[in-house]
Symmetry: C2
Subunit: 236 residues, 2 copies
């Protein structure tokens, strides 16, 4: 078994919620064993730069104290908070963030990447890898964007009326997600990556694939593929 | 078990050689089962566009006739020959090429990608995803290249004196590979991807990691990570 320490950035004492991503990974990847911990005092998770700045030292501290003996550490948030800092704090430890994992896997499918998430700005890994989005949320051409590179971030869409993963659970939120997926396809996206790990647990990816005809990459599952890759390297 | 049909583009009746990539994948990823077949009449594999054009219909035919019932098909060549054509011929079948797999995984590590291979031109997936190399093999700035996009192909290096994987087996070839890895690091690469699947079987990746201090992505192992990802999606 390949032992993973998974960091949740949403504080919770509900064991089912805390373990949701870990349980999904263990079901999907039989060779992985996942222990989940959350950082303290972050009841709303991370949805602003100030919240991220507040969370990073706590993420590093949790990685150091609870997970230094693991085979790999996952930061289960599409914004990848604290990922460079954990790498710096624990040299030699494989560390992966959900955003960078999804962004990299998405590129296999197409150089034109669309994001469906719950924030108005694309997670930083997507911007770092692919640049500013070509279109804004209203479908207007973004003046800051350049499509000079071969890879393009088509747009980052927050489905209508959706501000948190809770909004995805009802019929309206679900339908809005599917509409966003189709809108990205119509703007020329060749693949959709989910911009929030909270979307993993509600199984929206496969419904969006059916609605849009495009492959949809889930960030939690994407981290699992990188864990398998790390485990594979050790077995040789 | 997740059943994979693996296509070798080098014709061989030597079972050990034929199964080399499959054996590596099964060792590294315990959940994968790999059946390997090679295309006929391609004794030198593929190392020119004409050879590739000749191989593509044979790759599609092999995929159709031998592997249509598999869970996934791999084309075990960094040039990804026939990958789009196999996708078109077998709708719904997951298909992965070694080049696109390595290129996508490499991006997780860094936006500045270097390649060590056995040809003078980068495999097409790297150019499609990251553009023309910034530097040529002599270390000169490439006039065709643009670093306008966030991702950059730093250079594609063929180690001195190396023209085939056979040249890698002796001490000189091995040392030349390590020198190329260090040269890419010195040009600013943040990750190295191997440009030939024949390099997988000689275990050069870990030696190059030690020599350069950079992560090195092996294309055969990279396909395995995508196979795990496909298998994971089915389990949910």
């Amino acid at each position: 078994m390949f032992d993973i320490g998974l960091i949740r950035v949403l504080t919770s004492s509900d064991e089912t919620l805390l373990n949701a991503h870990g349980a999904l990974l263990e079901k999907a990847y039989p060779g992985l064993r996942v222990e989940s911990r959350c950082i303290p005092d972050q009841p709303e998770g991370i949805h602003s730069p100030a919240m991220e700045a507040h969370a990073v030292p706590k993420i590093v501290e949790l990685a150091r104290t609870a997970f230094a003996h693991k085979d790999m550490i996952m930061v289960s948030c599409a914004e990848d908070p604290g990922v460079p800092q954990v790498r710096a704090a624990l040299p030699g430890m494989p560390v992966i963030g959900a955003g960078e994992a999804a962004a990299a896997l998405a590129l296999k499918h197409s150089e034109r990447i669309g994001i469906v998430g719950i924030t108005d700005k694309a997670p930083k890994a997507y911007i770092r890898m692919f640049g500013a989005p070509l279109y804004d949320a209203q479908g207007e051409r973004n003046a800051d964007a350049s499509d000079a590179g071969p890879c393009t971030l088509v747009a980052n869409l927050r489905p209508h009326g959706v501000h948190s993963t809770l909004d995805l659970m009802d019929d309206e939120g679900h339908a809005a997600c599917l509409a966003s997926a189709r809108a990205l396809r119509d703007k020329g996206a060749g693949v959709i990556a989910l911009g929030c790990t909270g979307m993993a647990t509600i199984g929206i990816a496969s419904a969006m694939e059916r609605a849009s005809g495009l492959p949809v990459v889930d960030p939690v599952l994407a981290m699992g593929a990188f864990a398998c890759f790390e485990a594979a390297k050790r077995r040789l």
